[in-house]
């Protein structure tokens, strides 16, 4: 007993000397002291803070857009819509109101107020045809630059690169004039002989502008196929073009998919020519962006429809990004590193 009592003050004194600074510093300073004694911990903290901040800034606008689209027309207000839609009230659930005071009907109104589905269809059609055109033309050019040796290869490659440097505005005035002109040759295809208000007025310039990136991506993939495989196909009696489309292209399927996904996204997202080459009416092949903008222009106070139409238009791209994330990353970085 006596030994115990003799030891206690000693231990207590020892503990006091180590604990004393902690008590004096308070919560924040103690935390800082720990960070200083263990820097790895501080770096990890900083890392998670950064990551969460990035995630919040990139994803919160979409969440807020969803909340805005669910807000009923009468309830728009700056304070009411931040984390929940305006008019949101959980207690309404007990009264049998499954929507809890929100208005999911906006996602249907988008299609009844305007033929929004037609705009989306136009965009998909333009992006699909444009992607096929880009892949076809870029496959031929990528094969040439990736696998053949000939005079003038580097200057021609640089010429392709230079095109991607120029602003579309530098091409616009003559192109607008060209596409508004009436050509008698085109009359059997388009009603009045002019390409204005025809999908090709968007497809042609946009696919030409995104051609260089596709050429560079495919060039890299095609050059990696061993020569022996192509030679074997040629010895078996395949034509030159046959070897390209039956051996090189199938073996570079991941590269073709990468170029395809990137072309589709960029053509679907394109603004400049898409907004200037049609009258803006859905029956004149106006793409999705005109649909979203007409909610902004014609129905000034229907903010929920603006938000809902934006969410609908961004969904296909969001799904594509989640599915093809690896391809997008490799394509973007490869195109840039090579250029």
């Amino acid at each position: 007993m006596s030994t115990d009592t003799e030891e206690h003050p000693d231990i207590a004194a020892q503990q006091q000397t180590t604990d004393e600074p902690e008590i004096d510093r308070g919560l924040l300073e103690g935390w800082v002291a720990k960070m200083i004694s263990n820097p790895e911990r501080a770096y990890r903290m900083a890392f998670y803070t950064f990551t969460i901040a990035f995630l919040l800034t990139t994803l919160f606008p979409f969440y807020w857009l969803l909340m805005l689209s669910l807000t009923p027309s009468g309830q728009f207000g700056r304070e009411s819509i931040v984390l929940t839609p305006g008019g949101f009230d959980v207690s309404l659930l007990s009264e049998g109101d499954l929507t809890m005071g929100t208005n999911p009907g906006a996602f249907i109104d988008v299609f009844t107020t305007l033929p929004f589905h037609r705009y989306i269809f136009n965009s998909f059609l333009i992006a699909t045809i444009g992607t096929v055109l880009v892949l076809l033309v870029a496959s031929l050019a990528g094969y040439v630059f990736g696998r053949l040796q000939f005079r003038g290869k580097t200057p021609l490659l640089l010429t392709v690169l230079v095109v991607s440097f120029f602003p579309p505005a530098a091409f616009f005035v003559p192109l607008n004039r060209l596409f508004s002109q009436n050509f008698a040759v085109l009359e059997p295809i388009v009603s009045n002989g002019s390409l204005y208000n025809h999908p090709s007025a968007i497809i042609i310039p946009v696919s030409a502008l995104y051609l260089p990136l596709a050429i560079f991506i495919l060039m890299v993939f095609y050059s990696q196929i061993p020569d022996g495989l192509e030679d074997a196909a040629r010895v078996e009696g395949t034509t030159r073009l046959g070897a390209l489309f039956r051996v090189i292209v199938p073996l570079s399927a991941p590269g073709v998919a990468t170029a395809g996904v990137l072309s589709f996204i960029t053509i679907y997202n394109e603004y400049f020519f898409s907004s200037l080459m049609t009258s803006g009416r859905p029956e004149d092949w106006a793409p999705m962006l005109e649909g979203v903008l007409s909610f902004q222009g014609q129905y000034e106070t229907l903010f929920n429809l603006m938000a809902a139409s934006s969410i609908i238009a961004v969904l296909p791209i969001a799904i594509l990004v989640i599915v093809a994330q690896e391809k997008i990353v490799s394509g973007l970085t490869q195109g840039a590193v090579k250029e």
Partner: protein, 322 residues
């Protein structure tokens, strides 16, 4: 079969040129021919009242009008006059209402912030941690968002009727009552929107540079007792330099042609970028020759920037560029 057989007998060079023909036909139609036409149009006279929008050849008169701020369009490309006394320069219009300066300011601010934020994101994505894949998807999504929807998001967020950011910005004294109508506030909105969307693109390009760095260098540095900051400063930064400059070159060229974001959120008259000015001149005044002049000057300004970057890249020893 005949055309294919004929193709088989050609030399490799001829075969190469034939396969390149479609690509160059497309580029010729959409890029080379229009560029030359733009140059020709820019030397013709404007005819706003006649059937044909172009008059006779007037040489460089359009360029002189545009560069001295005397072009008859709603916004000027550059509008500065020299004066005899201090400060020797006088602005004809506010700086942010002149196409050249508003574009340059936009490019410099947005590319600077995008590089910094993109670098941060790249350093995060470079780490191995659980959920890395999903963080990467979240970072790429803004890049993949259509321009019109990016514009719509920021139009709504800063809208005085519904936006959750318009009140805080006003109480901080940063924005006026209607930010979407004031040139300065709109400029900030457009810049923030651009940074939000394209930092991810920078991050991906810088990440590619980071991942090409030999990891054993970091181990050596750790054993020698280098702090993480020293490892970043003496290993990461110098080795990622060329990739960083290439990424900045891409972003600069892209930021120079800013149009869609402005047109669909705050309007081209409020923040008149260079491309906006081309479209304003066409739509609002029917001055096609002046529009061509502005368009060609835009191309020249961009070429100058590309040239400066290429010199920079050569000096930092970037061997990836031909």
């Amino acid at each position: 079969m005949r055309p294919l057989n004929w193709l088989e007998t050609q030399t490799e060079a001829v075969y190469a040129y034939i396969l390149l023909a479609p690509a160059f036909a497309l580029l010729g139609l959409v890029a080379f021919y229009p560029l030359l036409q733009t140059l020709r149009f820019s030397m013709l006279e404007d005819q706003t009242a006649a059937v044909d929008v172009f008059g006779g050849f007037i040489g460089l008169d359009n360029y002189i009008d545009v560069l001295t701020g005397n072009a008859r369009v709603p916004r000027q490309f550059i509008d500065i006059t020299t004066t005899s006394g201090f400060p020797y320069l006088e602005l004809g219009a506010p700086l942010l209402r002149q196409a050249l300066f508003v574009t340059l300011a936009f490019v410099i601010i947005s590319v600077l912030f995008e590089t910094l934020i993109g670098f941060g994101q790249a350093l995060v994505l470079d780490q191995d941690f659980r959920g890395n894949r999903w963080v990467r998807v979240a970072v790429i999504i803004p890049w993949a968002v259509p321009i019109v929807i990016q514009a719509m998001i920021f139009f709504l967020v800063f809208n005085p009727n519904v936006g959750f950011l318009s009140d805080p910005m006003q109480s901080l004294g940063l924005f006026g009552a209607n930010p979407l109508a004031s040139t300065r506030d709109s400029f900030i909105i457009v810049t923030v929107a651009d940074i939000w969307k394209t930092s991810a693109f920078m991050a991906l390009l810088i990440l590619a540079g980071l991942q090409s760095i030999d990891r054993s260098l970091y181990d050596v540095a750790k054993v020698s007792g280098a702090t993480p900051w020293q490892r970043f400063k003496y290993i990461t930064l110098p080795l990622v330099g060329p990739a960083l400059i290439v990424a900045m070159l891409f972003r600069t060229m892209d930021a120079m042609r800013i149009y869609g974001l402005i047109d669909s959120s705050v309007g081209c008259s409020t923040v008149p970028s260079m491309t906006c000015l081309v479209i304003i001149s066409l739509d609002q005044t029917r001055r096609w020759a002046t529009a061509s002049t502005v368009a060609f000057l835009t191309a020249i300004v961009i070429s100058l920037f590309v040239f400066v970057y290429l010199i920079f890249l050569r000096d930092t020893g970037g061997e990836s560029l031909a």
